[in-house]
């Protein structure tokens, strides 16, 4: 199939605006009479509010209002209504909003915060999801039983577990009994920040006639609208949410964060816009954080390396409120076996309330947490069996005819993880770089049927609060000369979009009077380039040159078609499908209008290159411009009216998971990939240099190669941070010790490895031009690829992210290697 625009690396449509600074973001917007809000945040992680006196703050210069949670009508939440937009009587994490000062300028608002008096009665604090899941842990939502929740969410009454998903297939007891080798370990992925360039911000006006208008830096204007409507009891037609350009989302601006809070605040100053833009430090504690998962993973393997069974328990940190994390729990549960066919499965994923900021969507959405376990496990198993990490993956890989953890059978159009693995291995130097260990570790392990266990990781307590012991590297290879050692590692992945079965996407295409088109979608351009890719899809579908296609840059719930939210790597796929449907409808309207004018049956007409023409006699045509301006005949009689195409897409045939077995058709499509790393470890300092990161991904048809590569590079580097340097540190009182970039380190330009993105293009039947999602996938298994490379280089096994220089030195000392 040859395409005109699809498949081309066209320059992004918003590029010049963004590099010149002309692009408008929320904080660039200033409205007449605008007030400024600053938030007083709880300094206690778990406490009852026993007193709250704002009278002195009210008297400070410039202060217009001080808003508290008093009078909030109801709890909010899309899955579980377990939160108020600001604290009512009780705080559950450090950073939870307790009061908001609204003043004429931000300085006045900030300085008035100090005059608010709050008294607390402290409650016991727990920040670790595993500890919080134990009986006797401090109860964070004692009344969770009465919360309103969607069907399919299974809390454990009397505990902090707000959702538990089980995935069961076959009989794991038999599989583990018959296994040649059993490997069991615990893996920890700490909580991380998204570190969006643009902080969260919004401007809200509560109208004196009722209703609200909000500008927000959000991935989810329709979710925001819905939640505000529920909170304030307004109909959707009275709440307008406008999203200008967004400077990075990564899931941290999906669902809702500060918007319901600001809507509640604006309610108190009708007629005056109120702006709230967070500081970097507030983003850490005042929005959502990502990940935070303990995975206890047991694999049963045959002598020839076939996975016979997996038993896994996942404890995902939900933080103080679990609403945003419910579906992350589901995602982790259904993807815990990675891109492999496993006949016997027993996975339980728990979402656990703790006293940290709430966990929300974060690029990868449950998949990186469990792939960290699954893909480290594969290398450890390979080492135990004396098998190549490549071979064991290829042997177990999902593919056409195979069945995934939730019982879905893979079709040939679903993609090829085996090809991805081979491409990464070739790019890293070929299979000979991944030979089985010549000296497989047999000392501590009896290679006999009947259950062999590696030392499980002692459970990390208090999250990252205290250093955790690393298990000694059982497969230690003798230390080379002190200095630098290199290693290569791979990890493979499968990721599906996790979405409601009715996640809708709409598109509207207006024919403009120059014969070009204006495309409206509800998808947010947040740097990922989706508006460029969607324009390419529209241009292809309408046979127009790309210059004739515009995508409206602002999303406005008053005008833009509905979009569930810009998440789940589903925009190219779902909104692209909506655009193709809209384009088909527009072409249909064009040919029907032209049929009247040209006196040719509509079926004989086609829309090509800015014209509508007779297939049989192409010299008979109208330009789209002629039609769009309102075609008139010789007498001046109008023969055409404005032409607008609309497209509406919803994924087909999805269903809920079975509550007992976790089986069901919940995933609309899958993207398979493999990622590889080459690292250099300085054995004296423990410092890791990531030399190369290679990703091969079966994304189906690549719509825009340079943007697709950019997405993969960005995701890989973001995940490299989680692998070697990132992680939120909580102290015993639940305070974040590294809320700013001073002590939360993200990779910088000096850390950049050589990056490579390779594409396998198995066309996806359900995708536009065969395309699949790719935005998050590059972030899914970089940490295990890097840790596997470190294992090859040093013989040290790591179970605990990030793998820092300190941990490498500690593990070496424990093993007894002189530095």
């Amino acid at each position: 199939m040859t395409y005109q625009t699809v498949g081309q690396s066209v320059a992004r449509l918003d590029g010049i605006e963004k590099v010149t600074g002309e692009a408008v973001f929320v904080d660039d917007i200033s409205l007449p009479g605008m007030l400024h809000a600053r938030v007083l945040r709880s300094q206690r992680a778990h406490a009852l509010i026993t007193g709250l006196d704002v009278s002195e703050a009210m008297a400070q210069p410039g202060v217009v209002a001080v808003v508290t949670g008093r009078g909030l009508p109801r709890r909010i939440g899309a899955c579980i209504q377990d939160m108020y937009p600001m604290a009512v009587d009780r705080v559950r994490y450090v950073g939870e909003p307790v009061a908001v000062v609204v003043a004429e300028n931000p300085h006045q608002a900030h300085h008035a915060l100090a005059s608010i008096k709050v008294s607390y009665q402290d409650l016991a604090v727990v920040t670790d999801p595993w500890e919080a899941s134990r009986p006797g842990a401090p109860q964070i939502h004692p009344d969770q039983a009465v919360y309103h929740r969607l069907p399919g969410i299974h809390p454990l009454p009397g505990s902090n577990i707000f959702h538990r998903l089980q995935v069961c297939r076959g009989n794991t007891a038999d599989a583990f009994r018959e296994a040649f080798l059993v490997v069991e370990n615990r893996y920890w992925h700490p909580s991380i920040y998204h570190v969006q360039l643009e902080p969260h911000g919004a401007i809200a006006t509560y109208h004196q006639k009722g209703g609200l208008t909000m500008y927000a830096s959000s991935q989810a204007p329709y979710v925001v609208r819905h939640v505000i409507c529920e909170l304030l009891g307004l109909p959707p037609g009275r709440v307008r949410v406008i999203v200008p350009y967004v400077g990075g989302g990564f899931g941290g601006k999906s669902d809702h964060t500060i918007e319901p809070l600001l809507a509640w605040v604006a309610r108190h100053v009708p007629g005056r816009p109120v702006k709230l833009v967070l500081t970097r430090e507030e983003m850490a504690c005042g929005t959502v954080i990502g990940r935070g998962a303990l995975v206890h993973y047991r694999s049963a393997v045959s002598q020839d390396g076939m996975l016979l069974g997996v038993e896994a328990e996942v404890f995902l940190n939900g933080g103080g409120y679990g609403d945003f994390a419910v579906n992350i729990v589901t995602a982790a549960g259904i993807s815990a076996t990675g891109p492999y066919q496993v006949p016997n499965i027993k996975i339980t994923a728990h979402g656990v309330y703790t006293n940290t900021p709430p966990t929300g969507a974060c690029r990868g959405y449950g998949h990186p947490e469990v792939h960290w376990a699954c893909e480290r496990q594969m290398d450890i198993i390979a080492a135990r069996l004396g098998m190549s990490p490549v071979e064991i993956r290829l042997k177990n890989a999902l593919g056409p005819g195979k069945v995934n953890a939730i019982g879905q059978q893979m079709e040939s159009h679903n993609g090829r993880v085996d090809l991805c693995i081979q491409q990464v291995v070739d790019a890293l130097g070929g299979p000979e770089c991944f030979l089985p260990r010549t000296n497989p570790c047999v000392g501590s392990i009896a290679l006999e049927p009947g259950g062999i266990e590696a030392d499980p990781l002692p459970h990390p307590t208090g999250a990252n609060a205290s250093p955790k012991a690393e298990p000694s590297g059982a497969c230690a290879k003798p230390a080379a000369m002190p200095g630098k050692v290199r290693g290569k590692g791979i990890a493979a992945l499968m990721k599906c979009p996790i979405m409601p079965t009715n996640a809708q996407s709409g598109a509207i295409i207006k024919l403009e009077e120059d014969g070009g088109v204006m495309v409206s979608v509800g998808a947010i351009e947040m740097g990922q380039g989706c508006h460029t890719v969607l324009a390419q899809i529209a241009a292809e579908a309408l046979s127009l040159p790309l210059e004739r296609v515009q995508v409206a840059p602002q999303v406005d719930t008053f005008h833009s078609p509905y979009e569930w939210q810009t998440v789940a790597s589903h925009t190219t796929w779902a909104v692209g499908n909506a655009i193709r449907l809209a384009a088909a409808q527009l072409c249909d309207k064009i040919t029907r209008a032209a049929a009247v004018i040209l006196q040719v049956p509509a079926e004989r007409l086609e829309v090509v290159g800015g014209r509508v023409q007779d297939r049989e006699r192409p010299e008979r045509y109208l330009t789209l411009q002629q039609l769009a301006r309102g075609y008139t005949d010789a007498r001046g009689t109008a023969l055409s009216a404005p032409l607008i195409g609309e497209g509406n897409f919803v994924p087909q045939g999805l269903s809920h998971l079975d509550p007992e077995t976790g089986q069901g058709n919940i995933a609309a499509d899958w993207t398979f990939a493999c990622q590889g790393a080459e690292v250099e470890v300085d054995t004296r300092t423990g410092e890791v240099t990531v030399l190369r990161l290679v990703s091969a991904m079966d994304v189906g048809k690549v719509i825009n190669p340079v943007l697709a590569e950019g997405q993969i590079y960005g995701a890989a580097v973001q995940a490299m941070g989680a692998a070697i340097c990132e992680g939120i540190v909580f102290d015993r009182e639940g305070r974040i010790r590294n809320p700013s970039l001073t002590d939360y380190k993200v990779p910088g330009v000096e850390d950049m490895p050589e990056l490579q993105a390779l594409f396998v293009e198995t066309p996806e039947e359900s995708g536009p031009y065969g395309a699949r999602g790719l935005g998050e996938h590059g972030a899914v298994c970089v940490p295990p690829a890097i840790a596997n490379a470190i294992q090859q280089a040093t013989g040290l096994e790591f179970f605990d992210l990030p793998v820092t220089a300190e941990k490498i030195i500690r593990a070496q000392q424990k093993r007894g290697v002189p530095a």
């Binding site: 250093p467 004296r684 300092t685 423990g686 380190k745 990779p747 910088g748 000096e750 030195i809």
Partner: protein, 282 residues
Amino acid sequence: MMPLHMEYVKPGGLAEAVSLLRQDDACALAGGTDVVVQMREGKLRPRLVVDIKGLAELQGITGQSGGVWVGALVTMAEIVKSPLLQAYRAVVQGAGCMGCCEIRHRATIGGNVGNASPSGDAAVPLLVFHPQVVIHGPGGQRHLPLANFFRGAGKTVLQPGELIKGFLLPPPPAFSLYMRHTRVKGMDLAGVSLAAAIDRQGQVTVSMGAVAPTPTRFPQVEELLSGRPLSWEVIAQAAEVLSAAITPRATSLRATPAYKKEMAKVFLHTALSRALEEGFGQ
């Protein structure tokens, strides 16, 4: 958030600067890479900010009786490029790794020393060159060795009205080196750092950052290593002494005490191996 009520003055000369800095809650502003950050965080709440950037007396790098005069307002970027300072390699390395390119063009050596951070990337290597700090104040000018300048984390001997005019570096040593551990390769504060120098008489000087409240020299280690050929035995012994001598605080997020103690050994070993490779210390 910046303080609500704050005055800003840019004095025309040194005398005016000194009289302004004598006022209560006055604070000198040079590159601003520490002061502005601390003001934003509310750790510093000056009522008067005295912008000393324009003071000519605090500028410049000039040769002076075999040594070098470095004005307090000299930026990290200027240090990196200065031909006169190349012989003081450790400080060039320290200045070259601080912050990022933009920060290195703002941050000054006087600011880095005056801020008295335990891990200052210019302060730690500067120590091994035995510089004199030249202080200007209401009572005129005074000199003191840099090692005596620090009084604690963020604390110095500077009195109200005093400011650092510059540094007098004696003739350069034969060898010097600075190294540090950071969590990422780019912009980070040193988790632990070490500078070492060997002069033509074989006198060794060693300083470390982020292991004590101030950048610190280690006379017992220097004594062990000085005035004799460096053997592997001596180096190993000195590394143990250095490691035992430091008592880093346990609460740092940048490196644990155990790691710092290990790196004290590794860094000293690396620095002295490098000296031997380059033909010094025999």
